[in-house]
Symmetry: C2
Subunit: 116 residues, 2 copies
DNA sequence: CACATGGATTGACATTCATCGATATAGTTG
DNA sequence: CAACTATATCGATGAATGTCAATCCATGTG
């Protein structure tokens, strides 16, 4: 499973210098990948766009199923992924659940790219 | 159902989005999701980080397999995904293939989030 | 309380994906 | 040309994912 072979430096200038830079750790990469994975679905991007485009900045599930042409359980599933990723906020008022953008979440996500 | 008219894998110019339309179209969402899908894997994030952290800004496959602890075919596969997403540039010199960041690609991707 | 409604959860299913081993291709060297 | 090296591609496989139908939970209303 793990073939850790001793690679002798027989290659001089052929391959470039060893990049001993502070490379992204496996844990950080895993954590950042979760956010991008939440953004990697077109329907989830549209959900964010719809929520952002609403006048009051929030929308309930019943408003989101129709424009996406998806079933209610599927929309609810996507919304949960976006909430878990820290992009959306969920607030239940009465029977309805209102979803809104977490302030600064998109900007913070954009910052992840700069800090790669 | 959905008429895909201009589905071009070319690089998108995310600047100057009309922003007149209230909702991200299905085609735009699909296109943007491809870029985030390329970023949704921790190993690919680490690949970008390593390439970015290299002194000369480029790295060959032989430099990337070891720090990721992945097989050469797997690394080559991930690199192809990053190239297809427009994030990496591939240049073959002799036997080696050198990968480098596409200038402005990360910033442009960050802009996708603002134009949601 | 009985019933209706909005939303979340479960289970199933088909598709996609990440990974590896084997192999093919291209450039270099003897 | 033959051998070697670096990389890409192919085929297979196990895991993850998106979707839906059915169901469950919570909160209203008669």
């Amino acid at each position: 499973m793990n073939s850790l072979q001793t690679l002798e430096p027989a290659l001089d200038e052929a391959c470039c210098a060893p990049s001993g830079q502070p490379v992204l750790s496996a844990e950080d990469a895993q954590r950042k990948a979760l956010v991008f994975k939440a953004l990697s679905d077109p329907n989830r991007l549209r959900l964010l766009s719809i929520v952002k485009g609403t006048g009051d900045g929030e929308a309930c599930v019943c408003d989101l199923t129709e424009p996406l042409d998806l079933g209610q359980p599927t929309v609810s599933h996507h919304l949960k992924i976006l909430v878990d990723a820290g992009l959306l906020h969920r607030e239940k008022r009465g029977t309805w659940a209102y979803y809104s953008l977490v302030p600064g979440a998109l900007e913070q996500t954009a910052g992840l790219l700069a800090s790669l």
